[in-house]
Symmetry: none
Subunit: 239 residues, 4 copies
DNA sequence: AATGAATGAGACTTCATTCAT
DNA sequence: GATGAATGAAGTCTCATTCAT
């Protein structure tokens, strides 16, 4: 039944099966929403039998969890890459936010998935799990984002009256909240606001950057221009 | 069985029963999350038998729907009151955002409920229903918020390069997104960010206001001070 | 709410309400099948409230029952009229069967309703009720049909080796069975047999008549021609 | 829990369970009528838990369907056997009809079950399903029954003015209709007609045969004599 | 390691009918 | 006589998960 021979060996096989499950689940979650997807759905989409599946993940939550953390790790890594390419503090933050705009445009399913995670799961999960997540991203340097503000103040691109940690955390929560809400509502936003989702989000970015930058910093373009970015931002799982 | 005689007559009775159901549901939704609450739960919390309940609401969704629209109407109305008390465009917007901060502090359950609605329901509900909602709030003048920006530009309190409609919509989505995310994560945010929820939210407000105000406008206080507000912001359903 | 004043008086009013219920039920039963129709359906179709309805019929079965007996009485009466117009025994029987063919063509809903009655209810109803029915029709002379055979033998139109009672009963059951099955299957028969329902039924009639008639009787037309008959065969209820 | 080890192996076990369900359902349907039987009834009669049952049949309809088609296949096969033993066209048709009489006598429950299927289900089922059924029987040669008429005309046992297809279809519908109505009404017929069910049915057969046979064919006995037939006519599902 | 089978718990909903006014 | 409200009893189906091979 399992065909692709590929890098053989017990361990390799197990990893391949695991991926098949996660890949199937991810697609289903993106399409139908986390709790509309049953284990049976994952079972049939992945071609792996129910009881076999339970040998890889002992609860449905574990699948969600794994997906969330892979997604976060991958996103964090990509974000860091974008940030590193920029020079000033302001430019770095701009790069970070634009990355999120691209994500919203290119991978709305994934963003929606995270929105559901926030709304339905995050609160009930043991803090320790959340912290594990934190660490993963931490390793990617996310937490060090506070430093971006500090740098920006130092290089004169950001206003000087900011509290680095607090500001950065507020920005992150805000932008994530805005992004995920847009992804959740999807085309309903367009019905409601009569604006394309991504235009609204880019306006959000513009406003925040306006609020951050020092008076002497060069002005921001009317609407942050969509940077052309490769469509690929999935965790490398799917090989 | 439970008596409260009160304004008698068929109609009054029916309305009272309806309220019992909605009240019970609201508490349960706030506490456990929309889809962790079953009809049976509502049944026993409200003291009304299952089949009776179905004579008031023929689907679980209808209860959710009713709650959402009552909540929105009430929130809209309160918001308008706060806005009307302020003078300049900037002050009005400030009042609006501070109202949301108060809401987050005083009624986190309700905000969380709306967050779940966004994440799990909004997308699947027929656009027409959403528009009905819109109208309810519209009547409250929510949509006219674009005017706030126009006024602010006119009175010199806001920067002049803003697109009134787009800006206002972006702000609303952003602040709602931030607010609801914080409510959803609840104390998990504090684990994650090591900051009280409301402090983060007020910093968000500050940043946005910084981005909006014209250069000559008076500076904003380090962190918007929590205005003392009555704890009561429930819809006055019970008449 | 009830408008038509018409022949007033308590009794008249009650009768009018009763008819509204029966009329609504009849339409619904014909369209959806007896047990797919709920009391609530009848309630809303008739514009009479549930609890009021129960003042007229204390069980759903009572409605079915009333409809069945009205239908049977009306059908019996019509049939007798047709029979009486014919002269010989053979002609009378022919008229009877052709009446049934017309019924199938013009009122398939009613025939289907009777088919469901046979299949689902008849068996479980107390014999006494069935006998009450019998009597109603009896009065119409149905039972005297055995006489038709006797007459036919006497006038030489029917073969002489028939047992009047047995034969007539067998014919009635057979033709009713064939007619109701065709009505039940509806267009499914056409899918299955690739013949119009009424053609099959008329062939049935032809065969039976062939079997009955004496050798010297005039031959029967290839397929009994559809006699043109008024569409009206409802019990006069609907005023 | 109930053991019967028998031909082991996954497949065999599954098949055995399936049979337990079908057997239980068949008995219940025969006794109480299709829609008076709930899934819970089948559950407890078969000793299989509700949720297990749903792994074998995902809807109640599927059980009905399976039973209908097994029954039809089995009946078709038996009928063919009987037909094949006869020589002339007339004799073959006679054999077929007598088989139906035996069925009515020996297996009234099954006939009644089919009657309910006709009255309540057939009309609502997708034509494609019905056609699948057709094919099953077709393979048994049912459809080729038209040939019986042709043969009968050729060998001089049937009158020559018959349209083979039309006639055969009309006969089949008629006889099935008569048979199933008698089974449905059960002992109520005896109340109504004061004749044993099977006597009425055999008279039906006699009349039809009278109508079919050519003038020179040997005459039919007053009432077709009940051929003694083994009581066993169940589908040999359990193989 | 893989998998077929089993299942407890419970979800949502419908319905005919009765009661009290 | 009319009616609003109430409801017990079922009914169908789903799901995450465990067990035994």
């Amino acid at each position: 039944m399992v065909s692709s021979p590929a890098p053989s060996g017990y361990h390799a096989h197990r990893e391949r099966q695991r991926q098949r499950i996660l890949d199937a689940a991810e697609v289903l979650f993106d399409e139908h929403g986390i709790d509309r997807v049953s284990m049976a759905d994952i079972t049939s989409a992945s071609g792996i039998r129910t009881s076999t599946l339970y040998q890889y993940f002992s609860k449905k939550d574990d699948i969600v969890w794994e997906l969330v953390s892979e997604l976060l790790a991958s996103v964090g890594e990509q974000a860091m890459r974008r940030v590193d390419e920029a020079k000033t503090g302001l430019a770095k933050i701009t790069a970070l936010l634009e990355f999120m705009a691209d994500e919203l445009e290119n991978e709305p399913g994934k963003v929606r998935f995270m929105a559901q995670f926030d709304a339905m799961y995050a609160r009930d999960w043991p803090a320790e799990r959340l912290l594990t997540l934190e660490e993963r991203i931490h390793r990617q340097g996310f937490r060090s984002f506070g430093k971006l503000i500090r740098d920006g103040i130092a290089d004169g691109s950001l206003r000087s009256d900011l509290d680095p940690t607090l500001t950065m955390q507020a920005i992150m929560n805000t932008v994530i909240g805005a992004q995920r809400r847009l992804a959740s509502l999807g085309n309903k936003v367009e019905v409601e606001y009569k604006q394309p989702v991504s235009r609204l989000f880019r306006e959000t970015i513009r406003l925040i950057l306006l609020g951050l930058r020092s008076e002497k910093a060069p002005s921001v373009s009317k609407a942050a221009s969509p940077s052309k970015i490769s469509k690929r931002m999935n965790p490398k799982r799917s090989s």
